[in-house]
Amino acid sequence: MLGRSKKKKPDERRKLRPRFRLTGEGKVYVFVALGVGLAAVNTGNNLLYLVLGLMLSALLVSGTLSDLSLWGLRIRRVVPAQIFAAQPAQFEIEIRNTKRWFSSFSIEVEDVAPNGEQESSGGCFFLKVPPKGTQRVPYPRTFSSRGEQELLGFQIRTRFPFGLIEKGRTLRDPATFVKYPTPLPPEESDGEPEASAGDLREHQQGLGHEVDGIREYKPGDDARAIHWRRSARLDQIVVRKRKPDNAPTLSFELDDQRAVPGEAFEHAVSTNTGGIVEAHRSGFGVRFESSSGFRHEVRAGERVDPLLRWLGLVEPGTKEGQTE
């Protein structure tokens, strides 16, 4: 799967920078406790010492239970198959409570990007993860630009049980993936069909290709290719494999050798991406060529991701040509 985080054994995850801070309520609570302590010392009233003892012990228990709530949690990130810049991508955080007896409550997980990047997620919230239970929460995430993206790991925190103390820790789980360019509507001159209108209509419906068996589903496959009946019978998702055919092909070109970095180049990349995506969805084959020599051809029904990946990473002024 493109961009899927590296699978690491939970034990390999290093726990970094444990966090501890008083919440707003906790600050008020500590302030009141200090007041009670002062009053107790001033008056020598043992009942005030008792109240002080109760308040301090609640604080201590709160801190300890927060650790218990965070303890034994395994977190996994599910990165969507295709991520386009400036479009919300549906990430998922999966959390597994490996504790045998205790539920974890009120867990916040934040997928952390490198320092200085704005693309940190708002965080996922898990109210209760039962013992030995797994929960998955989706969260939308929008990246501003194309290119390679790195995620460092997760910051998990909880205020459970009393909301007085927030405890957190960072779980290192680096992942790298490529953000595709923003797909903009193609301009008319960008591509010319090599097929007649009649052929186009047939291919736009996405039917008429000869099926050449089935294969296991891979992320990025078109959902329309899933063979639902067979999937149900085999208890795993399978897709129809199609024979290569003579579907019409649209050609796209990008001048990346003489272009200079800037909006114009980004716009060209984006319109190429939009055209390629649209053509591929419509059942056309796609032929792409850049001025630097990169050539790539995708037949109808084949995966277009390698091409989008190249577009996600392309920089103007590229000298070396590539052929795929």
Partner: protein, 695 residues
């Protein structure tokens, strides 16, 4: 129960405890408490409909401001400030209970309740506060945890998805039985940690602010005068005045006579003490010498005196000295001071509203040199001018042929106590303006101890024997829970002391019938004894805990640890007492039983709640039996896969158990997910079929 309902319930419990805390003591009037109670119950009827209306919230704000203005006005008109503040604190809580649309208001309820608990520390230090405090220890984890969960749900789902927020708040699975049980189990660490903090925080009070001085319970008969007829009515009053730990014979029935004060002037209707200058009692080596220097062979009796209105020191017969530990104030030991007046009236000078503990050194056989000056003799022979002639004539009649004071005393005592002429009674006819002794001796012929002691004193004085009327306590009930004897208000007694053979001798003319009119021993008195034992521990170990207790406690803890590690160097006697096993043996078994009962009740409660909160299906047990059977056959259902999948595998294999497995699984899934009603006969038949197939 849903999280929302449970949270409301717990919040009301928490707020209720706070309001009960405010009502402790006598500061808040009954009327105000009733109004608060009405508001508390009434607030239950306010709901989201009302909260949605801006008018309603405005009304609540206006009501609060109006109450504040009213309290300020009452304060300006001269009302006491403390009750006004407490009442307003209660009203503030009620307004929060009335208007509580979000977690924020519940945090306010929580904070106000804690403030009420703090306020209650200056209102009382009794067992009632202990009950409220332990209630708080129990409910605090629930309240804090649920308010936190609610706040988190509102924070994360409220702005983006109000429907999800409502679904979460209405969920029954978030805060189920296990959650409540787990939170309740936190009571134990909270309690232990609270106790640890309580013991370890140094008691270095600087006395900048000082509250909590209580005036103590009113005990009649120990002030400057006593009217005849003031005692008998309290004979059945079970309020504890003293707790006694004698040096020996603990557990046996014992009666203690504790002398308080004496009166020398009788005015015809009651007794008074003549004015005399108090003299400080001399202390030597930590012992106040009352009659003779101690020889350290005396018996000891440890007495804990509850706070009472008169700082009288009650002493058993034969007390020659008193040991009183110093009072700790501002981390400094302050030696106590005793003063003594005519008539062996011993008082302590610095009553602090706390229980007063001292040890009496008793040597009944000690050579006591007592003197009676001519002035004193005249004082103790005083009789009122208008004393009834019949009384004087009776004294002469009784002692006509007596040759000594001892014989005169014996004859008068016999007449009053043993002749059968008089009987002990708590009822007494209204004497009006007549001489009460005359009415008692010649008409009513019954009365309580005060009449008997007064009659004896007056008759003896009329017969020429110096006598004084004494008040104190006579009685003692063993408290098996606290292993001490209690003296109650009902044990208050009056007797006389006569100067015979060169010393003051105790003479008690009250007939033995007095003992039959005391409080009866029944289940209630047993419960009362238990409560008193708890109260005594509370007063001693919590309210009276000071720097001395703290250092002693830490020292014994240190010894305990050293002993546990086997590095102790104490003497055999010490080590026996401080070893862990000895400590366990000597500790109050009741305390252990209480803690165990508390833990057990939480566990059982949590389990029961868990059982109740989880719906049971009739066919579930049968289905579990099927799972076990398949497991034994090596055909167990893989974790995470539906049972029907495994059954299909069995059917493909033509396994003999496949048929009955399908029937059982269909029944169970139908009941659990399809609202199918299952009859017990079906279950019985399928269970028989399963067992038949298995075998």
């Amino acid at each position: 129960m849903t999280l929302l309902r449970l949270h409301v319930l717990v919040s009301y419990l928490f707020a209720g405890l706070g309001l009960i805390g405010l009502s402790l003591g006598t500061e808040v009037s009954t009327g105000a408490m009733l109004l608060l109670a009405v508001g508390y119950v009434g607030s239950l009827f306010a709901g989201p409909k009302q909260w949605a209306s801006p008018r309603f919230s405005r009304f609540v704000d206006v009501a609060l401001v109006a109450t504040l203005l009213l309290q300020v006005l009452r304060g300006l008109l001269g009302a006491s400030v403390l009750p006004l503040v407490l009442e307003f604190a209660g009203v503030l809580q009620i307004t929060r209970l009335i208007y509580r649309p979000s977690a924020r208001e519940y945090y306010h309820i929580l904070a106000l309740s804690i403030l009420h608990l703090i306020a209650a520390t200056v209102l009382t230090s009794g067992l009632d506060y202990a009950a409220v405090f332990f209630g708080f220890v129990l409910v605090t984890p629930w309240m804090l945890a649920m308010t936190h969960l609610r706040a988190e749900i509102e924070r994360h789902y409220g702005p983006s998805s109000p429907r999800t927020m409502q679904r979460m708040l209405q969920s029954k699975s978030v805060a189920g039985g296990k959650f409540l049980g787990g939170m309740a189990a936190l009571t134990l660490p909270l309690f232990v940690l609270s106790a640890a903090f309580f013991m370890l925080v140094p008691r270095v009070g600087v006395g900048f602010l000082d509250f909590g001085r209580e005036s103590g319970q009113q005990v009649a008969g120990f002030g400057g005068n006593v009217e005849l007829g003031g005692f008998g009515t309290i004979r059945d009053n079970p309020e504890v005045v003293m707790r006694i730990v004698p040096a020996q014979n603990r557990g046996q029935n014992q009666t203690f006579r504790l002398r308080g004060t004496s009166f020398d002037l009788y005015d015809g209707r009651g007794w008074q003490r003549s004015n005399s200058e108090p003299e400080p009692v001399r202390a030597s080596l930590g012992t106040f010498i009352l009659r003779a220097p101690p020889r350290f062979t005396e018996r000891r009796m440890q007495i804990t005196l509850e706070p009472i209105s008169e700082p009288v020191l009650f002493l058993p017969e034969g007390t020659i000295g008193v040991e009183i530990p110093p009072r700790i104030s501002e981390a400094q030991p302050i030696e106590r001071r005793l003063s003594r007046r005519e008539g062996l009236d011993i008082r302590f000078d610095d009553a602090d509203g706390m229980a007063f503990q001292y040890s009496a050194l008793i040597a009944p056989e000690a050579e006591l040199s007592e003197r009676l000056s001519a002035e004193q003799r005249e004082l103790y022979l005083q009789l009122p001018n208008g004393l009834s002639e019949r009384v004087i004539e009776q004294a002469r009649e009784l002692t006509r042929e007596s040759v000594s004071d001892a014989e005169r005393v014996r004859r008068i005592l016999d007449w009053l106590r043993n002749s059968g002429t008089f009987e002990y009674s708590l009822t007494m006819p209204d004497v009006g303006e007549r001489d009460p002794l005359d009415v008692f001796l010649f008409e009513a012929k019954s009365g309580h101890c005060e009449y008997f002691s007064s009659a004896f004193s007056v008759l003896a004085r009329a017969a020429g024997v110096p006598t004084r009327n004494v008040t104190g306590f006579l009685g003692g009930t063993y408290n098996r829970y606290g292993r001490y004897y209690t003296i109650t208000q009902g044990d208050a007694h009056s007797w006389a002391e006569a100067w015979v053979d060169g010393r003051w001798q105790t003479v008690d003319p009250t007939p033995p019938g007095r003992g039959e009119l005391g409080p009866s021993n029944n289940l209630l008195s047993d419960f009362r004894a238990f409560i008193d034992a708890v109260r005594a521990r509370w007063q001693r170990d919590v309210v009276g805990f000071d720097l001395r207790h703290q250092t002693e406690g830490l020292r014994s803890l240190y010894r305990w640890f050293r002993q546990a590690r086997g590095t102790g160097t104490e003497s055999p006697d010490q080590s026996e007492n401080s070893s862990p096993s000895a400590w366990l043996r000597s500790s109050n078994p009741f305390g252990f039983a209480g803690i165990l009962a508390l833990i057990a009740s939480f566990l059982v409660g949590g389990w029961l709640f868990s059982r109740r909160s989880r719906k049971r299906y009739r066919s579930e047990a049968l289905f579990r039996e099927l799972e076990r059977t398949l497991s034994k056959l090596g055909k167990e259902v893989p974790a995470g896969s539906p049972p029907m999948q495994q059954i299909r595998v069995l059917e493909k294999e033509d396994h003999p158990i496949a048929n009955v497995s399908r029937k059982i699984a269909t029944l169970y899934l139908g009941e659990r997910f399809g609202d199918l009603t299952v009859r017990p006969t079906e279950i019985r038949e399928l269970r028989r079929e399963l067992r038949r197939t298995r075998n």
